[in-house]
């Protein structure tokens, strides 16, 4: 029963959406959205886009500085400022609220610094305390304001979860002002922000007022939080500061590209959030924006070309499989070498014995080679014949291995029985140019430390010959040498 009372007393959900329309079909709604006829919708959309861009730009700096949760603390810390700004004018005057919130946000940021400098407490605790303390103060103030005779119908409680529908012309002007200001600050002081973000020590050494730029950043962040409050609300503003830049961070290594991408993602999430909340008749805007941003982040997290989880997993998997194939090829070469390259095919049994594995495993590896066009299977899948490509790869791997062993014994003075393990790893990653260097350095030697022949370039590039059934293994490699 008390909960029912509570539900009745808090109508915040019902009004927290953009087009206050009765149930219409979602297609109709979509058409209305894209025709941009509703002025309230226009303001909401423009506002969402502006705040997305601003938050994306400024959030990039806190994400690279590992201060992401400063955004969270700051966004909660503005609440008492909002309440006091509200008390000052006794209405939802954007300017008064803006000033109050900015002052409170800056106070919060300074408080975090002060706490970490004067106590043993770590930064996370300081952030948590500022967040909770300021927010609790704000909640108390808000509840006191709502108790006032004039306070009930003012909608100050909308600041907790945001209401894009409430964005008016004045808010849009304020938002554009902040967006332009942050854009200007970032373009004018790009170098300074870059240095203070990545290497504040260096910044201090070259005489840069690092502390001042930190404060400027905090000020701009407070601005961004305040303009985003209207639409997203205190609780979720931090997501707009963190998520789009984190998605951008997955995609690039350079700050300027990250800024552009983060602004783009912010814009995207703002627009998608506004669209979704307009589409569904009862969806609040802020959470829609945040979920849109999270989806963008999820896509970047999984599928980013270099740092994505799936792409990295795929790269690692294909590397492991390549190494497996190369090891099989190497074993086939060893079998062929043991019988002086007489006869063409290698039977599965020989391969399995060589690799100390079962026939089944050898068959699986042979199929894998076949699939990659390194070998063909003959005699009802019982013998493996290398293709020219397979022969080249096998000989190259054996050459890499033996060259490296020779290099280690020869130039690094490592005992001959200690070099195999190392060569086993390096053989898969030596590039052609390094091999050339090694060959020159070792004077085109033909025998490895164990007395086995190192395949020469001529051996490797005997194109068109599946395997050399060569009678005399040439005593010297090309170029004469030792």
């Amino acid at each position: 029963m008390p909960l029912l009372l509570m539900l009745a007393a808090s109508p915040s959900l019902q009004a927290a959406r953009i087009g206050d329309v009765s149930d219409t079909h979602w297609l109709e709604q979509a058409v209305r959205f894209f025709s941009f006829q509703d002025p309230s919708l226009r303001y909401a959309l423009i506002g969402s886009i502006l705040l997305g861009v601003t938050c994306g730009l400024l959030g990039s700096f806190i994400v690279v500085r590992k201060l992401a949760l400063m955004g969270d603390a700051l966004s909660h810390a503005v609440l008492p400022g909002v309440a006091i700004g509200f008390l000052w004018s006794m209405s939802k005057n954007p300017v008064a609220i803006f000033i109050g919130a900015t002052v409170a946000g800056l106070l919060g940021a300074l408080m975090v610094n002060l706490l970490t400098q004067t106590t043993r407490l770590k930064e996370d605790t300081a952030l948590g305390m500022v967040l909770a303390g300021f927010f609790a103060l704000g909640v108390c103030l808000v509840s006191m304001i709502q108790r006032l005779p004039t306070g009930t119908k003012t909608g100050i409680d909308k600041f907790l979860f945001g209401q894009a529908a409430a964005i008016g012309a004045g808010d849009v002007w304020l938002m554009s002002g902040v967006a332009v200001l942050s854009l200007l600050a970032i373009t004018l002081f790009y170098k300074q922000f870059l240095v203070t973000s990545f290497d504040p020590g260096f910044g201090r050494v070259i005489g840069m007022p690092v502390q001042v730029f930190h404060l400027v950043l905090m000020l701009l962040l407070a601005f961004a939080v305040v303009i985003a409050l209207q639409a997203v609300g205190v609780v979720l503003v931090s997501a707009m500061l963190i998520t789009p830049p984190a998605a951008a961070y997955m995609l690039t290594d350079r700050l300027h590209r990250m800024l552009v991408l983060a602004a783009l993602f912010g814009l995207l999430s703002g627009a998608i959030g506004a669209f979704l909340s307009f589409l569904g008749n009862s969806l609040p805007t802020g959470p829609c924006m945040v979920l849109a941003a999270s989806l963008v982040f999820g896509a970047a997290f999984l599928g980013a070309p270099r740092h994505g989880v799936i792409t990295r997993w795929w790269r690692q998997r294909s590397r492991v499989r390549r190494i497996g194939r190369e090891n099989t090829l190497k074993s086939i070469y060893h079998v062929l070498e043991d019988r002086d390259f007489v006869g063409e095919g290698v039977s599965l049994k020989e391969l399995a014995e060589r690799r100390r594995e079962t026939i089944e495993e050898a068959r699986r590896q042979a199929r894998e080679l076949h699939r990659h066009d390194f070998a063909t299977l003959q005699d009802e899948d019982h013998s493996i014949w290398l293709t020219p490509r397979g022969w080249q790869r096998a000989a190259a791997i054996v050459r890499n291995h033996r060259l490296w062993e020779l290099y280690l014994t020869h130039s690094a003075s490592i005992a001959a029985d200690h070099v195999h393990e190392d060569a086993e790893k390096i053989e898969h990653v030596l590039g052609e140019d390094v091999v050339r260097q090694l060959e020159r350095h070792l004077d085109f030697a033909t025998r490895d430390p164990h007395g086995k022949r190192i395949p020469s370039s001529v051996d490797i590039h005997q194109a068109g010959r599946p395997a050399p059934s060569r009678e005399d293994p040439r005593p010297t490699g090309y170029g004469g040498g030792s």
Binding site: L13, K122, D124, A132, F135, A136, C140, G308
Partner: protein, 346 residues
Amino acid sequence: MSELIPAFDWQQVVVSPWRDDPGTFFWIALMGFLVTVTCGLVGNYLILRRMALVGDAISHSVLPGLALAFLAAYAISASQQGPDVPHEDLRKPLLMFAGALAAGILTAVLIEWIHTKSRVKQDAAIGITFSSLFAFGVILISLFASRIDLDQDCVLYGEIGYVPLELGPGDWVPPSVLRMGIVALLTVVWIVVFYKELLVSSFDPGLAASLGINATLVHYAMMCWLSVVVVSAFESVGAILVIAMLVFPGATASMLARRLPAMLLWTVLQAALSSLLGLHLSLWLDCYPAGAMAVAAAGLFVVAWVAAPREGLLATWWRRRQMALEEPSIPEPPALGDGPMNPRSD
């Protein structure tokens, strides 16, 4: 201003509640104390492990778990008695615990996963995880508003004032106080039983690993317990008091003590004081009791920060001043010569 802050009336704010309606205020104060002490004890370890903000994250991200618990309860009841389910039947404490636990574990796993598997740092991972889950929860609630007996405001600041109203005719204790009491008791038992493991793994993960304590297990156990604490505190006091109490008592205690047992004792004291002070503050200013308790806890921390005997701002300032005054008695460093580089040369 005068209508915002009423005049302080000692009789009305402090004396009369306890004289006229002791039952009501006893339960509210007890509930506040149980929540603050439980959160404070767990928070001590969070602060030591530098996970203070993970607590903040979990207290937001249990929301979708709760929402799904309501939907599950609705589905179960609807399959038995048709689509019209009274709201009372939707509150299934066990399902809610399970939902919150699942959401809490999901949060911990997601945070770990994002920051170990990618270049995104832990702080950003925390921010992304909890905001996504919270947004998801809010959307669930607004999509199925008729079936989820929960709203965002109650999630934020709860309604501790309704606790005494829950007292049914045959009850000794309001059910939510009973639940919170059990959780508080279990927390104390948990800390006593696993005192050594928690201590070692919080202060010295390396030593803990060499002693054979499974750090991952301790971490996830901590996260699970945190979710349980959050969800049991949630309904009546809301996320705001939980977040505040996860940091303030521990931070206050660490200003006052250096050893863990002493810190835990200070935590209990701070919890008791802040719930009582907060209750009276809310009576005076007529605001949400949970918010007022959090403000009181913050106030107590500020007092400790300024006036703590050894670590406080005043003590530090006094020590510095004394040192500056006594400076001549400090043996001079060997002179490096009278060049301009030597600051003492003039």
